[in-house]
Amino acid sequence: MMSALASPTMLIAAMALFGIGGVGAVLLRKSDRLANYWSSAFALFGSVTALVFAVSMLASGQTFVAQTTSDSFPLLSFALNIDRLAAFFLVTISIVTFFCSLYGIGYIKQYYGRYNIGYLGFLYNLFIVAMLLVVTSSNGIFFLIVWEIMSLASYFLVAYDRHDPENVKAGFLYLVMTHIGTAFILLAFILLYVHTGSFDFTVIQAAMPTVPAHIKDSVFLLALIGFGVKAGIIPLHIWLPAAHPAAPSHVSAIMSGVMIKTGIYMMIRLFLDVLQPAPLWWGIVVLVIAVASCVLGVLYALTEHDIKRLLAYHSIENIGIILLGVGSALVFSALGMSGLAVLALTAALFHTLNHAIFKSLLFLSAGSVIHATGTRNMEKYGGLIKLMPATGLFFLVGSIAISALPPLNGFFSEWLTFQALFQGIAQTDFYIKWLFIGVTAALALTSGLAVACFVKAFGVTFLARPRSQRAEKAHEASAVMIAGMAGLAVLCVAVGVGSSWIIAQLQTIAQGVLSAGDHATLVTVTSGHILSIAEGFATVSAPLLSLLLIAVPLVVWTITRFGINRSQRVTTGRTWDGGTDLTSRMEITSTGFARSIILIFRGLLKPSLQHSVEYEDAASRLIPRSRSVTLSVQDVYRRYLYRPVFIGFIHLSHWIKNGIQNGNINAYILYILVVLLVMLGLVGVW
């Protein structure tokens, strides 16, 4: 039974289901409803099939390798290599796509009649298939092909809602950035090909000892930039906060939840697997980038009042946290501490899984809110928990998980990351020790700010009173949308409670990647599901913690209800409002909430404060009609990095184009003559 489920037929079946879903949707495009149901249903089936396949691959522990070389094209082979790491990413992707597809059935309805649902279904399915192939391919060319298809499909999804020029711009930025990233990846692979003679990962890995160190370093840097663009590390992230909000929410969830993880996957695959052994400085570079991404990511998130941009910045933050694990693993394995490397990589993998779950949950619930209110501006929300309690609950679950509060899943992976860093402090020598101390401090700061940010996000969105008419008329999401969110919310809790078991599984995956034996086991799960790091350096028990967290409020409630206040009664009246009616203008806004933190970090964030007053009478300026304060944060990367480069290119372009193509035919003839003379001169040289 197990072998049947783990057979490649299942994978092919999954791809075929997605294919049928995509092509069928195009054929059924005349009917919006049919196209939607068809594509979503097949995406669901495909996700389930892929999930079953990947889980049974993990359970059986086998590796599946397949290779078909192309007759027409040299060097290209359709090579698949599904080891534990790939299977793990398959699991992550298919879980998220399953729930997003479910949610999509309801969410897509708003596009009926406005856009072609058939093409949405096609692109959606194509996008998922490409992602599945990205994490399973083991030939550089094949990988690049599916990688670009993934980028293209997601570009079309980002620009799907094309009537809004902002979305078109976001799509442009996204595809340009990702294409530049691909150019770097291409160069990295070609460099490897030139020195190993193949694009196949296995061949490259085998030939690695013969590759000179400076080539490996170049490949590392090129790949770091290339995959860093996709993963959204700072300062290559600028597409991310633009593109994620633009896409339909269930696609944003997939992009943010899993697509950016494909960048992480390839970093793990290359740096920790194919290119091993790696020098120490690789790990340090990754750690530095990780710190920048997580601290700046969360700070920018705090300044946002567009709910999806806020979530997008949190993706950058969480990518940073994952990279902390990856970077530590690189450092440890360079120092020969394979046990610690396994621990760090386990933390990274676990956070990858967790972030995929809670971030897609958050994007989906944000999507419901946007669907209900018609805006992404958090200042226009408020009080939504009364109108959409289910969505509010799920958003709360996601918020708790992303804020790393026990007993949800985010806590455990962040705890594990902390443990890896603590071990780094404890067991390394002077310089590396201080590096780890700094990194740990940065992670601690990040966690604290993340909590603040989600207090803001949840409070401003769901609590208090509606701040706009649309928010007053908000409605709960439809049943399928709730089902999609509920599934992910349950997973958040389940993965948290069952974290000790999952961590044990992930540890085997990490050991497989790092080719470390069983002796490299730092995480042990003792009876009673107590997770223990390095023989009792730190312990945590998820079930116990959960029990405690359920028990404590219960006990407190019992005591207060039956012990202390027996003779008192509770009455529910209106909120004390000082005698005047409460209005939404009295509430704290998103900007107001974040203001103090923004001002603390003003050196980094460069905020600008604008006061503007509009007068009743412009001449006398006595009676103001309205006053407004705008607190905005500049995008320093765009302003100081991307914009100048772009403008420089534009100037250069004008200069070259108008200089050369000046319309003067004499000049054109002159070019020919000059080139002729120069070349004749070169005859003597070459």
């Binding site: 009246g573 209106r574 004390w576 409002d577 000082g578 005698g579």
Partner: protein
């Protein structure tokens, strides 16, 4: 400055009552329902250095949520009626409502005006009244003493209802 001898006497009696009834601290929320501010002057005088009512355990609080007692002044203008009702609702049980000044009792000099509702009792149930236009601080203190003397068991019973 010469202290009134009665002040200390009334004060310590008040303090005993406050200690006995309110575990040493009586929180008062004062509500101005459109008063001419005469009564406010007198109430404000209670907290000045001369009377310094806080030393007897009585203090004015900014929110009815914290109050044991509402001191309502003014004839209750139409605009303030709703606010008064809400303040009353916002005060937790058990609570005492005291109308201070003639205006608050029945409208006083404003009685019959189209703009006022002629007294606090028209809007919320009033437990006690302190007459005078305005009552002097000492009168207020004496009245409070009388109220607390009379309310030995009453607050608790009201709370049960």
């Amino acid at each position: 400055m010469q202290q009134l001898p009665e002040l200390e006497v009334i004060g310590s009696a008040l303090q005993d009552n406050v200690r006995r009834l309110f575990k040493g601290s009586l929180a008062i929320r004062q509500i101005d329902t459109g008063s001419d501010n005469a009564t406010e002057q007198e109430l404000a005088a209670l907290t000045n250095a001369y009377y310094d009512i806080e030393r007897f355990g009585i203090h004015f609080v900014p929110s009815p949520r914290h109050a044991d007692m509402l001191l309502v002044t003014g004839p209750v203008t139409r605009n303030m009626a709703e606010a008064l009702k809400r303040a009353y609702d916002a005060t937790p049980h058990p609570k005492l409502v005291v109308a201070v000044g003639d205006d608050a009792i029945d409208g006083g000099i404003y009685k019959g005006s189209y703009a006022v509702l002629d007294g606090v009792s028209q809007v919320i149930p009033v437990d006690y009244q302190i007459a005078g236009d305005p009552p002097s601080p000492l009168v207020i203190m004496q009245s409070l003493l009388a109220i607390l003397d009379g309310a030995k068991k009453a607050p608790k019973q009201k709370g049960q209802s």
